[in-house]
């Protein structure tokens, strides 16, 4: 039980439009497609995940916001219908998921030992947020791998960005320790959009791709700069400019998933593989993978 390790991390954003564009049976609304380059990027990520054969997927979502500490899904089976409060016209999804409660508890305890406030979510009627569900659907639509769902404590907004991200760094270290202790082969999913400037009106129909492009040119340039650094494995440099990126591009990475994931992976100076970039209602989204097995930083199964 002690060869647990993180085998990969993915930047895996959660615009519900991607689920809408795919028309899976779980989602009620129907579309004529749309956002294909991003959806195809996820197809690539799905194939890679298939090869990785992880025991568990851990996802940190900005749309489960908590004020008293960092919360972890702690009910073995959760199901329901998740309706996106912002895009209810696009995302009304029937979900059913299995939680790796043992690992969730280990993460919760480790983080508490490191000084964070933490809490297990034990209420069986809890509705899992659409960010968690979208990321999980896009990376693994079969829903056959147990998950650990982690809330986004609002510290980067309530405190300063830097103070908040320090908490996420600790959360990442605790997550790594818990994975090692429980012997899991784990994949981490950072459910974050990059530049978050968006249009305030939806086209009709929403999948009219003639209307889809970056909302903000400066934000687009920031995204390209960050992605280029990530592709070169200049992770240190990315984290040096991260607060400025967050401020100037209104980047959703402020909510912490990106920092949590890299901290858990110990900030490897490793080139990320870009599967695709695209905008969704003007925001910038990249699907990227850091495969620690290929890099020789984790063992193959």
């Amino acid at each position: 039980m002690n060869d647990g390790q993180i085998i990969a991390g993915f930047l895996a954003p959660h615009p519900p439009h991607l689920v809408y564009g795919e028309n899976p049976p779980q989602n009620e609304p129907r579309s004529q497609g749309g956002w294909e380059p991003l959806r195809w990027a996820y197809e690539h990520a799905r194939r890679s995940l298939e090869e990785l054969k992880p025991d568990v997927l851990l996802v940190h979502s900005p749309h489960w916001i908590t004020q008293q500490g960092h919360h972890f899904l702690g009910v073995r089976n959760l199901n329901g219908k998740s309706v996106d409060p912002i895009f209810p016209n696009l995302f009304r999804y029937k979900f059913e998921l299995e939680v790796d409660v043992d690992l969730a508890e280990a993460c919760c305890n480790e983080a508490a030992d490191m000084g964070l406030t933490t809490k297990m979510m034990r209420n069986p009627n809890f509705r899992v947020d659409y960010g968690t569900i979208t990321t999980l659907h896009m990376i693994r639509p079969q829903w056959d791998i147990p998950v650990v769902g982690i809330s986004a404590n609002n510290s980067p907004y309530y405190l300063t960005t830097e103070e908040g991200l320090e908490e996420m760094d600790i959360l990442g270290k605790a997550t790594r320790k818990a994975i090692e202790q429980t012997g899991r082969r784990a994949v981490l999913l950072a459910s974050n959009t990059l530049c978050h400037y968006h249009f305030h009106e939806e086209p009709v129909p929403p999948e009219d791709m003639s209307q889809e492009h970056p909302q903000n040119y400066a934000g687009y340039l920031w995204d390209m700069r960050i992605i280029d650094l990530l592709r070169q494995g200049k992770i240190n440099e990315v984290f040096q400019v991260l607060p400025q990126f967050i401020d100037e591009a209104f980047a959703e990475v402020k909510s912490g998933a990106f920092t949590w994931m890299f901290s858990a992976m110990d900030y490897p100076e490793l080139p990320g593989e870009l599967y695709g970039y695209g905008t969704v209602i003007g925001t910038g989204n990249a699907v990227m993978e850091w495969n620690l097995i290929k890099a020789g930083l984790a063992k193959a199964a």
């Binding site: 008293q68 500490g69 968006h198």
Partner: protein, 271 residues
């Protein structure tokens, strides 16, 4: 005037789910008192503006005739469930949508099964409309809307009620000061987390009791920033818009802590 009563209430679920904790129980009892006052004003419908219904693209109005279900708060899940069973005045909502658009604010109706009704709207409706007999109108807090736009939404509610000949009760659902305890506390010892914010809350509540709307309108912007007030205190802007910016006085039925943040149950005297 179409508005027959107006209330400011907190949207925290804590008084609802754990009223046997005395700091929160006082607020729960005051919510019930406010509910009785609301019923006594004999409204045909209640308009609820809740800071916790976050919108980004448009101004949203619920247009689904019946909302039923069980909600679990994303932060306070360990305290239990929030059941809800609400009737929406759809005719009113359709007119409010039209008038919101006429006021220059993009508006959209929301009519979806399992749409996540927010904690604040549920708590306000369960306490102040306990039998669910009075139809509701519920509208969102668009984070890009400022004080003035929110006031105009309050006016939209009042005008829509006038046009339909309906008597309207207005509830602005949201907190006062926003500093919270970020760690687990002994809830029996809950208090306002910041003395300066406590002072601010009391100052604002006292201006309300005196009906000093001039002082309030000059103090609110500073209060919103200095006391980290829930969503810039826009829930009060909605009330002011609905009641034409004036009230004689107010009764503070309770003021107290909600995990360090401030909450008050206020009834405005419109007579």
């Amino acid at each position: 005037m179409s508005v027959v009563s107006a209330f400011l209430v907190p949207g925290s679920p804590l008084p609802y789910v754990q009223r046997d904790n005395s700091p929160w129980g006082e607020i729960a009892a005051a919510m019930e008192t406010a509910g009785k006052a609301l019923a006594a004003s004999e409204p045909d419908l209640i308009a609820i503006y809740s800071t916790q219904w976050i919108a980004v693209l448009d101004q949203l109005w619920q247009t689904r005739a019946v909302l039923q279900g069980l909600h679990v708060d994303e932060n306070w899940h360990e305290y239990g469930d929030l059941p809800f069973d609400m009737k929406i005045d759809v005719e009113f909502a359709e007119l409010a949508l039209k008038k919101t658009a006429e006021a220059g604010i993009k508006a959209k109706g929301v009519d979806y099964d399992h749409f996540p009704v927010d904690t604040g709207a549920i708590v306000a409706s369960n306490f102040l409309n306990p039998d669910g007999n009075i139809p509701l109108a519920i509208t969102s807090n668009n984070v890009y809307h400022d004080w003035q736009m929110t006031e105009s939404l309050g006016r939209v509610a009042a005008d829509s009620a006038s046009e339909l000949g309906r008597k309207l009760a207005v509830i602005g659902v949201g907190g006062l000061s926003g500093s919270i305890y970020r760690h687990v506390i002994d809830i029996a010892e809950d208090k306002i987390a910041s003395t300066a914010e406590d002072d601010w809350n009391k100052k604002i509540l006292s201006m309300m009791e005196q009906g000093d709307t001039a002082a309030l309108s000059s103090a609110c912007p500073e209060y919103a920033g200095a006391a980290r007030v829930d969503m810039g205190f826009k829930h009060f802007a909605f009330i002011l818009g609905a009641i034409g910016g004036r009230f004689n006085s107010a009764t503070v039925h309770a003021y107290g802590p909600l995990y360090g943040s401030g909450g008050a149950v206020v009834e405005f005297d419109l007579a």
